[in-house]
């Protein structure tokens, strides 16, 4: 289609959808209203299992299957991106040029922020059932933290601290651990993904049953997965070149 015709088809479609959507939005319960039947069931259920962070309870207990699927999507796309960005037979990875080691302000900031970020990441993973955050958020923070080394200008250090094979294995084990915990629920408590551990005392680090364990598995998978993912993009942008 020509650009013009394409925009005409799109325009007709959008006007139709727009009218329907506005008419539908008029019938949605008032914004900010108090009618949330699912919430009224989910919040007491979470509290009964000593999980103050109801969102975590939903993600790792009540709707844990969604999260299993979500982590599998992440796994699939990390493996998929690795497959799509593998160097082809007509490409090679050029060696990394050693950077000069002048301690600029950015470098210093990068090195200073690195431990802080890693600690924050671990904290977010560990307290996922108590405070905002969890395995996913913490995992991303951990992975991003490691990449502060790239910001600090030391791609070679980053590469040395990043044995990708092991992160690949850690990613697989993290994702597998979630499913295995699900199956253990089946064996131990008669139901897939059943929260089979004692719920503990409300607000304790070791409470809410399997929620912290699942958080840990996800944290491990997400941190390794995002590192592997970003590694592919960094390699493409920095080192993979066509062989002439």
């Amino acid at each position: 289609m020509s650009r013009r015709l394409r925009l005409v088809v799109f325009g007709l479609g959008v006007s139709g959808i727009g009218v329907v959507f506005v008419l539908a939005a008029l019938l949605i319960p008032r914004f900010g209203g108090g009618d949330h039947p699912y919430r009224d069931l989910a919040v007491p259920a979470a509290v009964a299992r000593s999980a103050p962070n109801v969102v975590s309870a939903l993600n790792f207990d009540q709707r844990a299957l969604d999260t299993l699927g979500e982590e599998t999507i992440l796994l699939a796309s990390v493996v998929g991106a690795a497959a799509l960005l593998r160097p082809t037979t007509s490409e090679h990875e050029r060696s990394i040029v050693a950077e000069d080691r002048i301690l600029s302000a950015t470098t210093l900031l990068g090195y200073l922020l690195l431990p802080v970020t890693l600690l924050v990441g671990l904290d977010v993973v560990a307290h996922g059932h108590l405070t905002p955050g969890g395995g996913f958020q913490g995992g991303v923070v951990l992975a991003t933290g490691l990449h502060l080394l790239y910001v600090a200008g030391s791609y070679s250090t980053l590469v040395r601290l990043r044995p990708l094979t092991w992160y690949g294995i850690a990613e697989a084990l993290g994702a597998g651990a979630f499913a295995v915990l699900g199956v253990s629920g089946l064996v131990a408590a008669g139901g897939f993904l059943v929260n089979m551990l004692p719920y503990g005392r409300f607000g304790d680090l070791f409470s809410a049953g399997t929620v912290p364990l699942l958080n840990l598995a996800v944290g491990c998978e997400v941190a390794s997965g995002v590192i592997v993912l970003l590694a592919q993009f960094l390699a493409q942008a920095l080192t993979v070149r066509a062989t002439r």
């Binding site: 019938l27 009540q62 299957l65 699927g69 497959a83 094979t165 690949g168 597998g176 993904l193 929260n195």
Partner: protein, 595 residues
């Protein structure tokens, strides 16, 4: 013993297997990876088979995590969903066996992605939660985009994967918007709780708009016109064993989703006649367009892809009857089609491996020495047209009976004849060198000349590549000759369209009422119509091989060119059609359903 542990186990097997393969892949030889992946797929097949037996003519309901349907996620295995999960597992096993000698690279990416893809398909077929359906939809998608673009040395492959990814993702976001609207109205996410909440209130614009949006993503997956563009591109470029999965089970799962969601969620709120009329219309248009485009291809995988689109249209017509019989007919047809079409894709993969080419013209006569493969190709082409006793023929016969109206029966016969004829034409030209190679090249179509080599030009065809073809064809015959299959699916069809029974089973776990569905089997007219479409296909193929279309060919030239040009491979075009399609769908479903 309570069988509720089985459905989640069947989802978990390929998932855990994929993680194991990925962990192993880094440090073990290729053979270990091949065996581990294949064993995982076979375990999933076994799990699916056991589940199918346990489900019987009822439903197995699993409350994941032990939560009630209002709080947690529920899995419901019924005969039709389980049959589709089993089909996905069998096709994945075939694909893994076929890839054993197919890819040179020692990478385990394909194995892991295929197993994750399988987990997504099984989850999609078994879940009874609308948001969970979206999650598994995306899981299928993520694995499928990467598999489509896997041949990264080939320009068309990455382009096709990209178009597929964009269109499918946007379709999924429309679905999610619909889910959000439904949640705003009802505060529920489970299919059964949603259905219960919408019962007896009638449908207003909010509910109808939500329905249109939710169905959009599923129709994109099912490649129904005008959401079908991605399918031909993706199938043309994906590795052949992956195509067998896409055509055989991924796209049909989209149709499964459409009917599942309509029946369980909207069955009581939206008049059946409105849904019926719209879906039949979409099915007829899809079948017709797919058949025409199928005949107009020279790229063998694109030809098979359009034939899949045509068949998806036919399945939708059968399912749109919203009757047990129509559902059963479509399912038998779908299973037979998966075997036949899978075999055809694998045979084309063999051509690609042996000759480095999938162009009907360029391969003219070059497949004469392919031994058993050339006879299998002709047989599969005839089966595609509906030759009894293949499952395709039986499914077509049952669907025709369910469709009732004579003109719909005519469409079934013509469309299956056209797709079978196109495949037969290619087989006769490539494997038997019949007719003269055509010389005119249409600039608006893709030829298959520059398709990248898959595999490594084996001098002899390896057994690992022939066995899956034979397995698939034997399976397609078995579906047509083992009465238990059609019987079980007849039961399944009846359960599938029974909204009240589904809601009852999820909320109270009550067993299905045991009124046996009438058995569906070959009838005299069914056999006759199957033979008729096969004969038409043969006639069409012979005419086409010898180029005898004369004035008809000249008359069709301009419209064909326009059609070719509309399938432009431009992702912006596809999205414009997507939006236009949603608007049309809104018009068809909302206006007549308003009080």
């Amino acid at each position: 013993m309570d069988p509720s542990w089985l459905p989640p186990t069947v989802i978990a097997i390929p998932l855990i297997g994929a993680c194991l393969v990925l962990a192993l892949a880094q440090h073990t030889p290729r053979l270990v990876v091949d065996v581990a992946a294949l064993v995982t797929a076979l375990f999933t097949v076994a799990g699916g088979a056991v589940l199918l037996v346990v489900v019987g003519a009822g439903r197995v309901v699993t409350r994941v995590g032990g939560w009630t349907p209002q709080i947690g996620i529920v899995l419901v295995a019924d005969p039709i969903g389980t049959a589709l999960a089993l089909l996905a597992a069998i096709l994945t096993a075939c694909a893994l066996l076929y890839t054993w000698r197919y890819f040179d690279s020692a990478e385990a990416h394909v194995h892991v992605l295929l197993l994750l893809f399988l987990a997504g398909m099984v989850g999609f077929a078994l879940t009874a939660d609308l948001f969970d359906l979206f999650v598994f939809f995306e899981l299928m998608g993520a694995a499928a985009y990467a598999l489509t673009g896997h041949k990264i040395e080939e320009p068309q492959a990455v382009h096709g994967g990209f178009a597929f990814g964009v269109v499918n993702s946007l379709g999924a976001y429309f679905s999610l918007t619909g889910i959000a609207l439904l949640y705003a109205r009802t505060g529920r996410l489970g299919l059964a709780p949603l259905g219960a909440a919408l019962t007896g209130r009638g449908a207003d614009v909010l509910v109808l708009a939500a329905m249109v949006l939710v169905l959009t993503g599923l129709l994109v997956k099912a490649a129904i016109v005008p959401f079908h563009f991605w399918l031909a591109d993706a199938h043309a470029v994906a590795p052949s064993p992956v195509c067998a999965l896409f055509s055989g089970v991924m796209a049909p799962l989209g149709l499964y989703g459409v009917v599942r969601v309509y029946v369980t969620v909207f069955g009581a709120a939206v008049p059946a006649v409105v849904a019926h009329r719209t879906l039949v219309g979409l099915g007829v248009v899809t079948a017709g367009l797919g058949a025409v485009m199928c005949l107009a291809q020279r790229h063998l995988k694109r030809m098979l892809a359009y034939s899949t689109i045509a068949h998806l249209g036919l399945f939708l017509v059968g399912m749109a009857t919203l009757s047990g019989q129509g559902m059963a007919g479509s399912m038998v047809y779908l299973l037979g089609h998966a075997g036949v079409k899978g075999a055809l894709f694998l045979l084309v993969g063999l051509l690609l491996a042996r000759h480095g080419n999938v162009d009907e013209v360029g391969l003219h006569g070059r497949g004469r020495a392919d031994g058993v493969a050339r006879w299998l190709f002709v047989l599969a082409a005839l089966a595609l047209a509906g030759l009894p006793p293949f499952g395709t023929g039986l499914g077509k016969a049952i669907s025709e009976e369910a469709a009732e109206r004579w003109w719909l029966v005519g469409i079934f016969v013509l469309v299956s004849a056209a797709t079978g004829g196109a495949a037969l034409r290619a087989g006769l030209r490539v494997h038997f060198g019949l007719g003269k190679p055509p010389t005119d090249a249409d600039p608006d179509t893709t030829s298959g000349e520059d398709e990248a080599q898959e595999g490594r030009f084996p001098a002899r065809i390896p057994m690992t590549m022939v066995v899956p073809v034979v397995v698939l064809l034997v399976g397609a015959v078995a579906i047509g000759v083992v009465p238990a299959v059609a019987d079980r699916l007849a039961e399944g069809g009846r359960l599938f369209v029974d909204q009240a029974g589904y809601l009852e089973a999820v909320t109270h776990g009550a067993a299905a009422t045991q009124t046996p569905a009438p058995a569906r089997w070959w009838t005299l007219s069914g056999v006759a119509l199957g033979v008729l479409s096969t004969a038409l296909a043969v006639t069409l193929a012979l005419l086409a091989v010898h180029g005898r279309f004369g004035w008809l060919g000249r008359l069709l030239d301009t419209p064909l060119r326009t059609l070719h040009r509309a399938h432009s491979g431009h992702v912006g075009d596809y999205v414009a059609w997507l939006l236009g399609g949603v608007a049309v769908l809104s018009g068809l479903l909302i206006l007549p359903a308003l009080p």
